[in-house]
């Protein structure tokens, strides 16, 4: 992956070229080896006035293999990795690139805010002024009302994820923050403040999936496998859901992924979850059945999801500190979990011989969700 951050003067194709070539080099493969490309992107048609990005991005890393752009808001490359895994497991391809790219900072804040909002219902949510932070603020207040918790609980999540990112040189924000910094930051949409929100980032990520037979035949170093994949859906607009404090799309995706991998939540050693806002990490951990409903709000505060806790969450820094170039996030999570399991991530030292990891990626207010289980290959 590229460093996530502000790259307003670099084109999307240049960003994706860097990520794709790095992934191929890491895998010991060349562009000619690639059978198919699945590329996630959310607002490239708005930010770069560029459609038909699949072949453009493939060409950028030297391939003319069949390519698809997949859009699912912030879950775009979670969907890409799911499709990539599907074609490899079905035996339709041996070497597949899954990745994503987003450019956001070439637009001003108003432009980025307006672009991110298109993940919501244009008639019933965007029109009355629901921004992306506002949508999660509506969920956060509903969660507090139903289960309790407060801004300080959420602040501990931000502090944790910032701390995790301090050694991640690909992270957008490598700054240590305190609980007071978070609770005293300017309000974006209450109860969420500036430090409850992920930054607006540019960046690209890519991973290479190969079949077991191909990896074995070509003697590739492939220490981690995707063993479970799941996707869930929900009504698009928040107002049409039974609860604003739960995300059943993630629950459905998780159940499918756990069943697919034949694991249970207790087996998970490390997780990267979609913390676009601090409250989103809480909602994810509960929907993943890693916590009971109403219990994950205090997980970071109690030190359970910190890097020295029993279940480290978002050791990469998460979206919160690593950054959130929307279309690149899902595959960046997969890359982080794979490196954590393989022992090559800068925060891998937080884990003691991990064997099972999980990545959860969500779109909009979780009308789309993907969950992938990764395991160390024995």
């Amino acid at each position: 992956m590229t460093a996530f951050g502000e790259h307003p003067d670099r084109s999307g194709r240049d960003l994706f070229a860097e990520a794709g070539l790095a992934a191929l080099e890491d895998a010991g493969l060349t562009p000619d080896d690639v059978d198919e490309v699945f590329y996630g992107n959310f607002v490239g048609t708005l930010s770069e006035n560029q459609g038909h990005q699949g072949p453009l991005m493939s060409e950028a890393f030297g391939s003319t293999a069949p390519a698809k752009r997949i859009e699912g808001a912030c879950a775009s490359s979670g969907l890409a990795i799911r499709e990539a895994a599907r074609v490899v497991r079905n035996g339709e391809a041996d070497v597949v690139v899954a990745g994503g790219m987003e450019r956001m900072t070439n637009m001003d804040t108003a432009g980025a805010t307006a672009s991110l909002a298109v993940a919501a219902d244009a008639l019933y949510e965007v029109r009355p002024g629901v921004t992306f932070p506002a949508a999660y603020a509506l969920m956060a207040r509903a969660y507090f009302e139903q289960f309790g918790g407060d801004r300080t609980d959420l602040a501990h999540i931000a502090v944790k994820n910032h701390e995790n990112a301090l050694v991640n040189d690909h992270a957008h924000l490598q700054t240590e923050i305190s609980v007071d910094d978070v609770t005293e930051a300017p309000t974006v949409a209450d109860p969420l403040g500036l430090y409850d929100a992920c930054p607006i980032s540019d960046g690209a990520s890519a991973v290479i999936l190969t079949s077991d037979a191909y990896a074995e035949h070509h003697d590739l170093d492939a220490p981690v496998a995707i063993t479970g994949s799941g996707q869930g859906g929900d009504r698009m607009a928040l107002q049409d859901r039974d609860s604003f404090a739960k995300t059943p799309a993630t629950r459905d995706a998780a159940q499918e992924a756990y069943d697919d991998a034949t694991v249970v939540p207790d087996d998970i050693d490390v997780a990267e979850v979609h913390d676009c806002f601090t409250i989103a990490e809480v909602l994810a951990l509960e929907a993943l059945d890693l916590y009971e409903d109403g219990e994950a709000i205090g997980a970071a505060r109690r030190g359970e999801t910190t890097r020295d806790g029993p279940l480290p969450v978002n050791l990469s820094g998460g979206l919160k500190a690593k950054g959130h170039p929307v279309g690149a996030t899902g595959t960046a999570q997969i890359a982080a979990v794979a490196k954590l399991l393989a022992g090559t991530h800068p925060r891998a030292d937080a884990l003691d011989s991990p064997t099972v990891g999980l990545a959860q990626n969500a779109g909009g207010t979780v009308a789309s969700a993907t969950v992938h289980v990764l395991e160390v290959v024995e």
């Binding site: 108003a110 805010t113 009355p128 002024g129 509506l138 207040r141 309000t187 049409d240 604003f244």
Partner: protein, 125 residues
Amino acid sequence: MTDTSDSTFASFLDAIEAGNPFYLTCPNDHGSLPPKRICPECTEQTLSKESLPETGEIVTYTNVAVPAPRFRDDSPYVTAIADFGPITLTGQLQGVDSDDVQIGQTVQLTVGSADGERFVAFERP
């Protein structure tokens, strides 16, 4: 401005403005909002209009400090989700001080407008 025009959504707003708000209902009494051709709960395709209760109750809200660009001159503003019984709606709460909003408060429907686009809004009865 992006065109998101839809004639049935426009008629929904027209009805609010006329003081006769409606929702869609299926033979199994599931409420939904236009435009719909199928009940999202049970997939019944026979949908009819019913009068919407005049007031709803705020179930969650947020005071938006960093506004959507169309509302840059109106920030901070409050968006809320209110339960009207058969359906639940998202709207901008108008004419109310943001410090004076609470879950459980009663609101009624109105229609707001920004940059020439109308939207669902709430006000105190």
